[in-house]
Symmetry: D2
Subunit: 271 residues, 4 copies
Amino acid sequence: MTTNTTKIRTFETEPLVIAGVTFSSRLFLGTGKYSSSAAMRESIAASGSQLVTVALRRVRTDGGVDDILDHIDRERCRLLPNTSGVRDAKEAVLAAELAREAMETNWVKLEIHPDPKYLMPDPVETLLATRELVKRGFVVLPYVHADPVLCKQLEEAGAAAVMPLGAPIGSNRGLETRAFLEIILAQARVPVVIDAGLGAPSHAAAALEMGADAVLVNTAIAAASDPVGMGAAFRKAVEAGRLGYEAGLAARGAELRAVATSPLTAFLSEV
Amino acid sequence: MTTNTTKIRTFETEPLVIAGVTFSSRLFLGTGKYSSSAAMRESIAASGSQLVTVALRRVRTDGGVDDILDHIDRERCRLLPNTSGVRDAKEAVLAAELAREAMETNWVKLEIHPDPKYLMPDPVETLLATRELVKRGFVVLPYVHADPVLCKQLEEAGAAAVMPLGAPIGSNRGLETRAFLEIILAQARVPVVIDAGLGAPSHAAAALEMGADAVLVNTAIAAASDPVGMGAAFRKAVEAGRLGYEAGLAARGAELRAVATSPLTAFLSEV
Amino acid sequence: MTTNTTKIRTFETEPLVIAGVTFSSRLFLGTGKYSSSAAMRESIAASGSQLVTVALRRVRTDGGVDDILDHIDRERCRLLPNTSGVRDAKEAVLAAELAREAMETNWVKLEIHPDPKYLMPDPVETLLATRELVKRGFVVLPYVHADPVLCKQLEEAGAAAVMPLGAPIGSNRGLETRAFLEIILAQARVPVVIDAGLGAPSHAAAALEMGADAVLVNTAIAAASDPVGMGAAFRKAVEAGRLGYEAGLAARGAELRAVATSPLTAFLSEV
Amino acid sequence: MTTNTTKIRTFETEPLVIAGVTFSSRLFLGTGKYSSSAAMRESIAASGSQLVTVALRRVRTDGGVDDILDHIDRERCRLLPNTSGVRDAKEAVLAAELAREAMETNWVKLEIHPDPKYLMPDPVETLLATRELVKRGFVVLPYVHADPVLCKQLEEAGAAAVMPLGAPIGSNRGLETRAFLEIILAQARVPVVIDAGLGAPSHAAAALEMGADAVLVNTAIAAASDPVGMGAAFRKAVEAGRLGYEAGLAARGAELRAVATSPLTAFLSEV
């Protein structure tokens, strides 16, 4: 019976696998800009995220861990140290090594931005650092421009995933790189995580709808009036986008001229 | 303890009230274009919708009900007959009266489109018909262009809600009328339901994020490869959009220049 | 010889005809918001416009003409009085009659906006007023929402052209109503003039490229740092857009995958 | 007298200087995809372009020149050989050297795209090749992704200009990289030429309006129904965009709420 069928469906989507680790949530979170650690902790919980990125800068350098790590439930969330603040490959490798020791994980989000103003990633140094870090046994997720050639090269260099940006970081402008993300997604054989610029749940949904494997969000949640509610909103949006992708979106614009319906007129005049 | 706080939050959003009736779902559905009645039934169930619109045309005229109504669970879903196919106010009023009798509801989605090609609504006849139908005791939800002046006049004429279009019907192009919807939302004292053109879960989320009270979706769900999965996707997207709206989106574009972070350099050189 | 052919071409475009009057310029201008009458006069000259609209409000009511009219070269420019400030059809007809007397022209740009905040046009009253003014012998150019049904009805009511808006007036946001303008242009048998919201020369060019017959610009020119230079810029943009339209634009997005070129590699290895 | 002032203004815009060479035209042209050499020659003439790019591939390798060069008026147009078809820096340098010999110019448009499908540029090899070519005395104009960090590095490596792309090549989609071009333009100390994806005169105008120094167009002109007319259209559009830029565009969206005008009502009731 069809009614039973309806009940059976749980609308679970395909899980995401990065470097052999399975994630049921496709929403990754940043940990900057929260007003308090409590807000951060509850927001992460509400978001259902299983991967959060933490700047090495925010971890104590005496080998112990900073307060921030106490607020992340490592049972549910994997830590993804990031190298934010480094300016070249050499610094990035050093930062990754320190992070590996301090946070006890060989995963690293590679961010190299020589310019402190716009925090745009450096393509050349990122490729160099990826090669070196892979050699050193890291699971590398590089944050880069939505550059199809570079993303392919990073994949070939052994990156576990690529993280092209959707819009300038912190801009909340959404998928401004859509035309290039389409090419990146068509070519990629590793997961593609859209990072930066996603400013609303609908932006995250749109990223998943177009086939992105996951999104990383920070400002839009941390800077919301209610970061916990916003975490929950993004959770649903990401699930919606992935479900929509798997359910097969109808073509856009295909049908500008609406299907002509039979006018009701004949019908009415028969009454 | 904050952990408890987290558990207490259910992320339920404010319910929607139209003409005294409360809806916990802000997703309304159309019933056209489904490949089968079973697909429609399951899709509606998956969507969580509590209001579905049915063309009078599809109801049998012998006073009995058509097969389509057998597939709508009227315990969970309110019927919203629509006047699709009529060309002017006079036909609309006649169709509404027939629908009231056949479907046993005084709610009506008023659609008047003289042109069978693009199915664009007629502003003048819609205003006339609204006035007449309100006088006759109908709960009127007119489908109109995203015209701020007309929406205000329909409200003053007694419409229970207004249903401005987001994009040409069936186009799946999303919120192309955004600039005008912003004005409509700023002015409205009745619920605003965005109808037509929403082609992806992310479009629905975006409508709710900007403050729309609900959306009506048909083609995007009915014509998806998996209409049931897509119904579930839209459900989550609408919940995400509303949650995002209530949680207070951060400003868009406000921060094109990323917040300058302290470089990691000094830190690294101290190591 | 082809070289001669090149010299012969003047790249003049098809002239625009409204109500039997031929315009070689497809750029119409508003006269509000200029910092001085001199700026306005020079800006109009630089723009090459042959039709400028003037609010009745700005003309003296003693039957004589206001200062503003002294600054418009009526040899080169036709006056188009507008009814800006009226709230309904009745006031519009009265204003049009006054304008006909004061400005000695039976042309009128019909603007009815009951709401002083957004200056959005009233569809119902505009249709009523158009019918009445046509009956009274006016050449009527109604300013309306980009509503395909309404535009068709205005044409049937005898409007000499229709003036759908591109974006909220004064917003400089460009062709936000594009999806609807496409339908209006596909259906229209009178000239279509895009009015309001065009904030840059590129917006005007885009309007002409999609087949609009003309554009009306005010804020973007009058409020520019250099209104005279901006008048010249819009002149060229409008000519460019029309030329582009006549020369047949290549399809957009048709070729996302670039034409594969033969690699130079083989060639290089032969060297 | 102000009338005289009007006549004096010629609306000439600031010339563009690249590597000491002055261009009065800011429109650069490609030479591919034309249906005939005659169409190309006339189209270039109509466009007013003073710089056209030619693939080395299309020049005969016996040291003599190919037919294509006979159709370019080198009195009016500077040749810009491009390295289209090479896959890495080494091939690019070889191609540039051959081009310098064959076309007798040390200018080169550096294009390195390892992928023949999308023709996307390679950031790492482009930077390497730029360094080498500058060392060898070339005037280098690299074609790259709209990557702010890379553009800055190319400038530091001695590039005479940078040529970030607007959209995927041949896509005619316009300024899809706008958010990143804004950053590139804000940072650049060498001319910025937007290349690729500009599909309509309005796109070219928009590029100039935002401060781009020039644009390079090929497909949109060569594949137009009337390439000569389209060349003229782009010429005007580029002039319009530059004029608009110099005249100071009014802010966009600044004024969503239209300036409230005094209603005409009081005035009318006094009549």
